[in-house]
């Protein structure tokens, strides 16, 4: 997400102009460049590009790097606010958390590589986003992930799930950054297109943030980290195309991760940045050296000259095209203050890394690439970064959109007995405990994690202060499929609500937009609607978007995934000793529901799991009510009035109440007032399992209940006491009539072991 800058076409280079152009239609197609895009290249260059230059345009103008389909929509998002230290356009966003410190964070996807090679695809996804954070001068302190797979009842999804989880763990565990929270969904829509979105959170002193700009003519440009190989060439281009039966042949475009190298790079870069000798720094991720040289030049309003023969190489006989386009992992580009090279070299040598000077910052505004002193590419930097094509692609509401919002109860069979439905829902992989996955992630390293995975939002304390940060990633793809605008708003509100449930005030958000092929008007409509929803919700809740990632072409054989705009929200807890989790803390506490239950079954897990139906309107959302609810919860936690708070999501009130008991010695007895404009036989299930938004289940000691009720009423938030903690059973009645009555231990065992049982059965 860059801001376009004025650009004047550069002078054609006489030496390069003399060479006849090797570019024909077949070459353009291989590079994914459309004829009109090529015309634009000719105009910007003032001559025909050579093959290397075309390759540079190809990766930088790919959807992955240029956001050419999404940019006009992304520009509508709110990105500013009093807390924003760094908005979109840098390696990561940053928000002020007090005491001259800031939280640096961003989410990024590695969907396509993870489908082709699950372990390495996921591992290098983790590595990539960690680099974005420490590149800002921030020490990474936490990882989260949002994962999507096909139905866990299928061997294909199990294989990808197994590999992705191992890869996420393999990288994060080794480098020593705790994975503190996340969310995982299983749905057939992701069978051919798993999603791997990873969020990294770091801490930095606000005055020590380093940016990715090349400044100061004559300053040396250093390359440090792993050697460059032929891996990952055109990875960015691959991520910008649909999959078909030939996709497995693209395996060489997936890179191999080396977390040890990244650990050395991270420690060395953080140390070297403290010397003050680093002017600018950027990692070489997608589009490799081409991206780093051109983006740093553009941001700095400068140019850069590099000689590829100086780039450390892993393989022999590499040509400039390969070196400039390689996406080998764990590599950084640094601009160092002239004359301070020795200080920088000494730090890298301490870590057994070698920093190689490969070039110099210039004032030309051009990226000039040399091979043994001979000019082999000469491109205006902004032409690569800011002057690429921007599409206002045609949009059209899918013809099926209105139809799927209709829910016909006649067509879905008889209502399932509530007890039976409850047993099925807690063992549904979407709802069941994700411990099979998160027990493979080190979540204690760093000694900051105070709310572990499984607690909803992750909470990490900030050493040296009384504060903590809460982070959550959320998106219900089903709601977005039924209504992308409201679904995206629901993703924002759910993520913010999860953060609020810890007592944290949401400060900023990052988004990962996972969609199908934007060249199809229906997909483009979904994308535009979702971005409109994110914008409206974030503006209303005053949560700026500080950066993010767009992943398009998530289609296999023409089948797109559900639109899945994952939202990560970061919030601030002033007093870490006052935070709460979903878990009940005492016997005899009063259980309350904040927010209105409308018995909405549209898009619910109940309908999907027990009636094999994904239909109906997505839950209603009133942003003013949502904001009031979050403020009540934050205040109640901060004033020590409540012992637990849990967002009500998949599986509705019944599952939420059960989750409040899991991992505790307590049961709960609750009576719930019926709700829902549904046929009578579905009314109890709609009450128990309906997924109305903007609801939180809280527990308070009896002496605090009145105060909580006053807070809620004053804010206009509906509040009801529905039960009491205690005993060893989950006993739920609806309007006084028996509905569910099970031993907590039985329910908890089903919930805790459902996924590992499926994984074992599949062997």
């Amino acid at each position: 997400m860059h801001n376009p800058r004025p650009f004047t076409a550069g002078q054609p280079s006489a030496a390069l102009d003399a060479v006849p152009s090797p570019i024909d239609a077949a070459v353009l197609e291989r590079h994914g460049i459309k004829p009109d895009e090529y015309d634009r290249i000719l105009e910007l260059m003032g001559r025909a590009p050579n093959l290397l230059e075309l390759g540079m345009f190809s990766v930088m103008w790919s959807e992955h790097c240029s956001y050419k389909s999404s940019r006009v929509h992304l520009e509508t998002l709110p990105t500013t606010g009093p807390r924003v230290v760094q908005g979109p356009g840098e390696n990561a966003g940053a928000v002020d958390i007090g005491d001259d410190m800031c939280a640096v964070f961003k989410i990024e996807s590695h969907n396509h590589p993870s489908f082709i090679e699950p372990y390495q695809g996921a591992a290098t996804g983790v590595g990539g986003i960690i680099r974005d954070i420490f590149t800002m001068g921030a020490r990474p302190i936490a990882l989260l992930n949002a994962l999507r797979f096909g139905s866990l009842e299928t061997p294909g999804a199990r294989r990808i799930f197994e590999g992705v989880v191992a890869g996420v763990g393999g990288y994060g565990n080794s480098i020593g950054i705790p994975t503190i929270a996340g969310e995982i969904y299983f749905d057939p829509t992701y069978a051919g297109n798993p999603l791997v979105n990873v969020l990294c959170l770091g801490l930095a002193r606000t005055d020590e943030i380093v940016k990715g700009a090349a400044k100061g003519e004559g300053n040396p440009v250093f390359y440090v980290g792993a050697k460059t190989g032929r891996d990952g060439i055109h990875g960015a281009t691959m991520a910008s195309a649909e999959f078909d039966d030939k996709s497995a042949e693209k395996r060489p475009a997936v890179q191999v991760g080396d977390p040890f190298m990244e650990k050395l790079l991270m420690e060395a870069c953080l140390e070297v940045m403290r010397t003050g000798a680093v002017v600018g720094i950027q990692d070489m991720g997608a589009a490799g050296l081409t991206c780093a040289t051109s983006e740093m030049s553009s941001r700095g309003g400068t140019g850069m000259e590099v000689d590829v023969t100086r780039v450390p190489q892993r393989e022999s006989g590499m040509i400039p095209y390969e070196i400039m386009l390689s996406e080998s992992q764990e590599r950084m580009l640094l601009v160092v203050e002239n004359g301070r090279e020795r200080e920088v070299a000494e730090v890298f040598e301490k870590w057994d890394l070698h920093a190689e000077k490969i070039g110099t910052v210039t004032a030309t505004g051009r990226v000039r690439v040399f091979e043994r002193g001979i000019l082999v590419a000469d491109v205006p930097a902004p032409a690569l970064t800011d002057e690429g094509p921007v599409y206002r692609r045609p949009m059209k509401e899918p013809e099926w959109q209105q139809r799927v919002q209709q829910l016909s109860f006649d067509a879905i069979g008889r209502a399932v007995a509530s007890g039976e439905a409850f047993e099925a829902l807690i063992a549904s992989p979407v709802i069941a405990s994700k411990r099979w996955a998160y027990r493979q992630y080190d979540h204690t390293v760093g000694t900051n994690t105070i709310a572990f995975p499984g607690a909803s939002a992750g909470v990490t304390r900030v050493k040296g202060t009384t504060r903590a940060l809460a982070v959550s990633v959320d998106c219900n793809g089903r709601f977005c499929y039924l209504d992308p605008y409201r679904g995206a708003m629901l993703a924002v509100t759910e993520s913010a609500r999860n953060v609020a449930c810890t007592g944290a005030e949401p400060l900023g958000a990052t988004n990962n937009l996972n969609f199908g092929n934007p060249e199809r008007p229906e997909i483009m409509w979904q994308l535009a609607e979702a971005i409109r929803g994110i914008g409206d919700a974030c503006r209303f809740l005053e949560i700026p978007i500080t950066g993010g990632n767009v992943s398009l072409y998530n289609e296999t054989d023409g089948e797109a995934i559900y639109p899945t705009p994952v939202i990560g929200v970061v919030g601030l807890i002033e007093d870490a000793a006052r935070t709460v989790t979903r878990r009940f803390r005492s016997e005899g506490a009063q259980v309350l529901v904040l927010g209105e239950s409308r018995g909405e079954l549209g898009g619910s897990e109940y309908l999907a799991r027990l009636h094999d139906t994904v239909a109906g309107p997505a839950p209603q959302l009133d942003l003013a009510g949502e904001r009031a609810l979050q403020q009540v919860v934050i205040r109640a936690v901060r004033e020590g009035l409540i012992e637990s708070a849990h967002d009500c999501a998949e599986g509705g009130l019944a599952v939420t109440l059960a989750e409040c008991c899991f991992d505790t010695p307590f049961g709960v007895v609750a009576d719930i007032a019926s709700a829902g404009e549904v046929p009578l036989e579905f009314r109890v299930n709609a009450t128990l399992f309906g997924e109305s938004a903007s609801r939180v289940v809280i527990a308070a000691r009896p002496e605090h209940v009145e105060k909580v009720e006053q807070l809620a009423r004053a804010a206009g938030v509906p509040v009801q006491v529905i039960g009491t903690t205690g005993g060893a059973r989950l006993t739920f009645t609806v309007d006084g009539g028996a509905a569910i009555d099970v031993a907590v231990m039985d329910a908890e065992t089903r919930w805790a072991t459902a996924i590992e049982t499926l994984m074992k059965a599949g062997r």
Binding site: N173, G176, P259, Q440, T444, T447, T449, A577
Partner: protein, 234 residues
Amino acid sequence: MKFAVVVFPGSNSDRDAWYAAGHVLGERAERVWHKDTDLAGADAVILPGGFAHGDYLRTGAIARFSPIMAAVTRFAERGGPVLGICNGFQILLEAGLLPGAMVRNTGIKFVSRMVPVRVEQSDTPFTRACSPAQILHLPIAHGEGNYFAAPEVVADLEANQQVVFRYTDQAGNPSEDANPNGSVNHIAGICNRARNVVGLMPHPERACEPALGSADGRVVLESVVKEFADRAHA
């Protein structure tokens, strides 16, 4: 007293140990780079968790050749207290300061969770403040924590009461179900014959404050502080 926490390239729990000793306990603590050749006058040494040298050859196999290890070995031979945690335990095994080896967890997968561990011996510098058979709740986070040794070595360890920590259930009973990685005899930690070198897979340094879910690990570090104070008075 002063702790030295050795930092190998790839160590990732060095800050955790340093923070626990230096901030939670309030003792002096210094991180010592693996290329250094002396221990900066430390009274106790911690080899921390992590993936030293990426664990690419074998866990701990390269770290034992780091220059600092000569100093650690001399310090141990003179009776100085040395604690190896997780990867640090693996390095002590590779360096021959403790007997046995580590192999892949029986479940193959990396295991990260809180486990109960029973203190078997309270006469080492790192368990002196523990009550007999005390149960500690400590996090584990490892892929290769399956302790293995030849039967006669294991018999020797048991006979000489060198098994310091054992995995148990909540009630303090060892069992297959309560063993997270398949370790022989449910071994979580051992000491050398002289009892001054202790290695364990669980992370006491990550369980020193109630906010982190357990403060049970604090007693491990407090033990060595107590021993140092007792020796100073003796």
